[in-house]
Amino acid sequence: MSVLKKLAILMRSSVREIGESVVDANATRIYEQEILDAKHNVAQARGDLTGVMAKEMQSAREIERLRGEVARYEALALEALTKQQDTLAEEVAGRVAELELELDEQTKAHASYAVQVARLKELIKGAEAKIREHERQIVMAKTTESVYRATRSIADSVDGTGSKLLSAKESLERIRQRHEDLSDRMTAAEQLEREVGSKALEAKLAAAGIGPDADRRASILARIRARAETSVASGGADKPAVSE
């Protein structure tokens, strides 16, 4: 049964209380042991595979050599026959027969090595799939355990400091407060924006010579000029034109 299915059954039935381990520690250990075993098997199969593949290559080379030898001796036998050395030819034929026997054996061995290589590769593939699957299951089990254990620690710690853990009501209250806070701040920001905005507009108007403040400077200057002219007319040009 998959860990997920086991968890679903566990959670539906009794173990809804945090504090009890949701995951069977024993089952986890068994899984972990199975992973270790499978990994060991894979390592061993890989070792075997290398050995068998080496033998397969050796036997292929041997087959090649034997075929060469057969051809060479057959040529020699042919030469002996053409030179009427029949006894010698027969002896050489005997040697060819031995070589062919050996070749036959090597061919059989080679075929059996090939079968073993295929079988070992299949075995390794299967074991690796099993490891992946077990590791996935373990991850689920351990994550569940971490989540539950962390929640227990958090609950203990919060209880220890006297505050109540995870009260939705309180959280909501605080969040509403925060929203009000935020909306107050936004209102304030809008006001500020309006004020700053209107001042900026007034400044722009004044700069363009529009509005009550626009020609104040010009009218003051005109007033002072007028007084200065009066003062010149009365002969007191070196006196300041202010303060009466």
Partner: protein, 138 residues
């Protein structure tokens, strides 16, 4: 394998940056698994907890408990959570014991920057989720 605390060095500053400068504090929680509490300014009712297993770093936010759910609307709540799950960025709804959680999972070797992104998303999502689901809660 690095301890979670080593791995998450700088998480407070990175999370703070991801949340636009809100102040963030980290605090280890004692217990038999490594847990780090991430407290975020203005969101102190919804801290994020970061823990790990052999293969994953898990970020969790506890939303509410079974007893907070309005009994007559429970099925509706569960269906809504399932429906919403694919839409919530980087986080999934779940339940640990009686606690409804929002959960983000990363690789065990995730960088602190990535965890910070997840924590920030989780915190934003948790607030949205509580707000959206409040009608189902007592």
């Amino acid at each position: 394998m690095k301890t979670l605390q080593e791995q998450l060095r700088g998480l407070d500053l990175m999370t703070s940056a991801a949340l636009g400068g809100l102040s963030v504090q980290l605090q280890p929680i004692p217990g038999d698994v490594e847990v780090i509490q991430v407290s975020i300014e203005q969101r102190d009712a919804l801290p994020i907890y970061v823990t790990c297993s052999d293969s994953q770093v898990l970020c969790m936010c506890y939303l509410w408990a079974d007893e907070d759910v309005r009994a007559e609307r429970r099925t509706e709540l569960l269906e809504t959570l399932l429906d919403l799950n694919p839409s919530v960025p980087l986080s999934s709804f779940g339940r640990v014991g009686k606690h409804y959680v929002l959960l983000g999972a990363l690789s065990r070797n995730a960088r602190a920057e990535d965890v910070a992104q997840d924590v920030a998303a989780l915190s934003d999502n948790a607030i949205d989720a509580l707000d959206a689901m409040s009608e189902f809660l007592n």
